[in-house]
Symmetry: C2
């Protein structure tokens, strides 16, 4: 079997030295890769471990291939290549993919200049909605610095973000027979909201399972999660080891059932 585990977090560049990152450590993902590796010994199987810079990595096993990922674009192209060129049996998509990347970098002065120019061009009273589109245009037209370091002398740099493509949406589209485990992380949600939100992710992206968790119950080595299947059944799991084992068991069982 060929299994892909994505893990850790992406890093979206602001400039030559700064990035937007998330706190994902990759510890859960590394345990998941380890569980698959242990259950699938021998050279007939490969666990591809796509992880962010600084992410935890599983203990080197003969069948684990570690691939380092930078930003969302990088993750997307690596996944695309693997899903197109290999028969991938399952993708466990535990990586915390940035929802946003940097569109442009501005200052209050440059934004004001751009808004003033647009207001002057209009020569008429601007409605609230008109102002919104003017502000949006002004924010988006600012130059990306990108290459070099933002000066440390600016008083109020302004980072204008834009959405990254949803990597998870691409997986079943490229490879419909691949089993897909999605992850949903919320912050401060109660159990019902968490499970409902995670199940919507499952439906939307044709996942076979979703692991739902909340930052409020991930701390001091504890990690609470709900593994939800396509029939909206779920089990509550306590601890990263239990979560990793349950995901590996559930995926391999479903693959086995599919090949019977």
């Amino acid at each position: 079997l060929n299994i892909i585990v994505t893990s850790g977090g992406t890093r979206e560049r602001i400039d030559a030295v700064r990035s937007i990152t998330n706190g994902a450590t990759g510890r859960l993902g590394s345990l998941i890769a380890g569980e698959f590796s242990r259950r699938l010994p021998g050279s007939a199987h490969t666990v591809y471990y796509l992880c962010g810079a600084g992410s935890a990595v599983p203990a080197e096993g003969g069948n684990i291939r570690i691939i380092r990922i930078e930003g969302t674009d990088d993750l997307q192209s690596r996944l695309e290549a693997l899903l197109t060129n290999e028969k991938i049996d399952a993708v466990i998509h535990s990586m915390a993919v940035s929802d946003y990347k940097v569109n442009s970098i501005a200052t209050p002065e440059s934004i004001a200049e751009s808004i003033s120019r647009r207001l002057n061009d209009r020569q008429e009273l601007v409605s609230q909605q008109g102002m919104t589109s003017i502000v949006k245009e002004a924010l988006l037209e600012q130059n990306i610095s990108g290459e070099n370091k933002i000066s440390s002398e600016l008083e109020h740099p302004v980072l204008v973000l834009r959405k990254t493509p949803k990597v998870i949406e691409m997986i079943k589209r490229l490879s419909p027979q691949t089993l897909l485990v999605g992850f949903k992380l919320l912050s401060g949600a109660d159990e019902k909201l968490l499970i409902d939100t995670a199940y919507r992710l499952l439906i939307k992206n044709s996942c076979d399972f979703v692991l739902a968790n909340d930052t409020g119950t991930i701390k001091d080595g504890n990690h609470e999660g709900f593994l939800i299947d396509a029939g909206a059944n779920f089990v509550k799991l306590e601890g990263k080891e239990a979560i990793a084992a349950a995901i590996a068991d559930s995926v391999l069982k479903k693959i086995a059932e599919g090949t019977k």
Copy 2:
């Protein structure tokens, strides 16, 4: 002797999961701490190693104390406590401290609403300068999310940053007899600009030495640096090991001269 080495990078929170980080690995800082530890064996000496999350750490030596740092505020209070409560002989401030933290989080819609409200209040034509202060007020008044995760459904979140306090400025002020090594990292500067800029940092913050380096000559394990002293003399160093050794030698020589 008591030596402080700061290392790695700070992490400024955007929300419950996202942060602004810099690519500092802490590898140079960990080598510097190692060089001091080797030159100062025995329990009479302490090397305090203040490093960012995910930073490299020196091999555990009996006299190295590792202290993990989050953001700039955290670094400042830890340094303040050490400099106030202990006799610190030298601070090697190699940590990449964020120049900026998140002031507020906005959307084009919320900014437009705030600008429109201010324009209406004025009831008169607004000059370019007037527009700049309106935009600045509008950007800064936005609510900090902070506690929770920014929704992943926004089209264009806008992060408004503000300057962090300059930690390096505080060191000689709190403890004038402490030797101070500053670090200056530029991006794409030539040798003259790099050394001039670094020397201005030395003068401004009463450093005894500054290590000047440029992202363009830090790659693939190479690391070029210039160690500049208060007399504007400098030596060119090749490799993190050579830089770390030169810093430890220069600092300990200067401490020895001071106590003669």
